[in-house]
């Protein structure tokens, strides 16, 4: 175990900006990417469902 | 006024529709600034010295690249005719087109420049001056460029001819723009250069749309 306290951990021996700047951006992007992809998927699913609905309505007319 | 907004909106929409349009002008800027070190060698001291010049030349070229497409597509497909036939005054509509051009090409450059400055090892103060200079300078580039674009319209081989017409006119912007950063780096203060740039910009805002419109009318005949 390298760290005496949480504060020490976050200070990263004076390299906090650099270490957390890297890890932070990395985490951010790696969380954002799957969310964006999931959103893309839900968008297309939604429009597909809407089309389907329109089709069934057309058929009922 | 409504018509002007329509022109701006449509041009932005077209830029978005062509998707790559905005980003490629930007990436061209990025790539050209990255090419210079490859041609020149990786010495930080040398690179720092040429940074303002390189960034300005790259901004100038990036703006210039898109110029031939400022009016040419509109000329080819008759939009320009329709603009001239619109009840709204042509000069105003053209100003709208120039504004849209700046938003899609100039503004992204201004926003990207600090990152490139870092690559060339510039400090925060110099970066600030550079951004200020670009903020004044890129609209100037769009305004002057529009004149060149209008003059070469319908002239075959116009795409390359533009650069010939426009680059000499860009020289003052280049000198004051790059000069501002250099003056700051050498401790002289950039205020003088920046206010000269601002004066040029004010001048161009008055005269460039007028000259552009006149040139366009000639092309339309």
């Amino acid at each position: 175990m390298n760290w005496g306290s949480a504060a020490e951990f976050f200070a990263m021996g004076g390299y906090a900006l650099y270490v957390w700047g890297s890890f932070g951006v990395c985490a951010l992007l790696m969380i954002a990417e799957p969310i964006l992809v999931a959103k893309r998927r839900s968008n297309i699913l939604q429009s597909l469902r809407r089309e389907r609905l329109a089709e069934t309505l057309d058929n009922h007319e | 006024m409504n018509a002007v907004l329509a022109v701006i909106r449509r041009d932005l929409l077209l830029a978005m529709r062509r998707k790559s349009e905005v980003f490629t002008a930007l990436f061209f800027f990025v790539i050209v600034t990255s090419l210079f070190p490859l041609g020149l060698g990786p010495e930080p001291a040398l690179l720092k010295k040429i940074a303002p010049g390189v960034i300005w030349v790259a901004a100038l070229l990036a703006t210039m690249l898109g110029l031939s497409r400022l009016f040419a597509p509109d000329h080819a497909d008759g939009t320009l005719e329709q603009l001239a036939l619109s009840p709204a005054p042509l000069g105003l509509l053209i100003t709208g087109k120039i504004a849209a051009h700046w938003i899609t090409t100039g503004l992204p450059l201004v926003l990207m420049a600090p990152v490139l400055g870092l690559q060339y090892d510039l400090d925060a103060g110099a970066l600030g001056v550079m951004v200020a200079a670009l903020l004044l300078g890129t609209p100037l580039l769009s305004l002057i460029g529009a004149i060149g674009a209008a003059l070469t319209l319908g002239v075959r081989g116009g795409g390359v001819l533009i650069s010939l017409l426009v680059l000499p006119l860009y020289v003052p912007a280049l000198i004051f723009g790059a000069g501002a950063v250099e003056a700051h780096l050498s401790g002289l203060g950039a205020a003088g250069h920046l206010s000269l740039l601002a004066a040029l910009l004010a001048l161009a805002v008055f005269f460039a749309p007028w000259a552009t419109t006149a040139a366009l009318r000639i092309a339309l005949e």
């Binding site: - | 018509a3 329509a6 449509r10 077209l14 597509p73 080819a76 497909d77 939009t79 329709q82 619109s86």
Partner: protein
């Protein structure tokens, strides 16, 4: 009332026509005829004020169009071979933009209706680039159904259109003319319209 007096047009060193006189009044239409290269397109562009004539003058209600400027342009709708249809935009976007440029209010619903009338239903949201030759023309012509203009100047409006579209367009022109409008057309096909002056150049 559009009057042309002693119009002449010179392209390069070739005199295409000269001493052309005619007048078209409200409720009339003019069919400009001539061989390929006779100068029909050139004449229409001159009438629209896009190019100056080599000699002569054009009057709109007795006033030279150069002096009228905006007032003339507001009454005019000129459609040439490619009039401002952007290949990247959809028919709907193209039509809406044209309306805004003409400073006439057009709701999206009205635009959709106009496009449907021109047989573009189902293609409203497809970039014009993908459309067929005839469909592209229809996008352009849809402006006729939307814009309120007294004077229509149309350069070969019937090209590339199929039979149904030709009929529809003719009906539209008849309606315009009967409503007191003026139309000036060129076409190599016989125009299925009643009445009409003929101008041979």
């Amino acid at each position: 009332m559009l009057t042309a007096r002693h119009l002449a047009c010179v392209r390069g060193e070739r005199r295409l026509f000269s001493g052309l006189d005619f007048a078209v009044g409200a409720g009339q239409w003019l069919h400009v005829q001539g061989e390929n290269g006779a100068g029909k397109t050139s004449l229409l562009r001159i009438l629209a004020g896009l190019a100056p004539p080599a000699a002569g003058e054009i009057l709109w209600h007795g006033e030279p169009i150069g002096r009228l400027g905006e007032d003339y342009r507001r009454e005019l709708l000129f459609l040439g071979h490619h009039s401002a249809v952007k290949e990247e935009l959809t028919p709907l976007e193209n039509l809406l933009f044209a309306a805004r440029l003409d400073e006439c209010a057009l709701s999206e619903a009205a635009a959709l209706k106009a496009l449907a009338r021109f047989g573009l239903k189902g293609r409203e949201a497809l970039p014009v680039r993908f459309l067929s030759a005839g469909q592209k023309r229809r996008v352009l012509l849809a402006r006729l159904a939307v814009r309120q203009a007294r004077l229509w100047i149309l350069d070969e409006p019937f090209t590339a259109l199929d039979v149904k579209a030709v009929d529809m367009l003719s009906a539209l022109i008849v309606e315009h003319v009967e409503g007191g409008g003026i139309a000036i057309l060129t076409s190599h096909q016989t125009i299925p319209l009643p009445g009409g002056q003929v101008l041979k150049i």
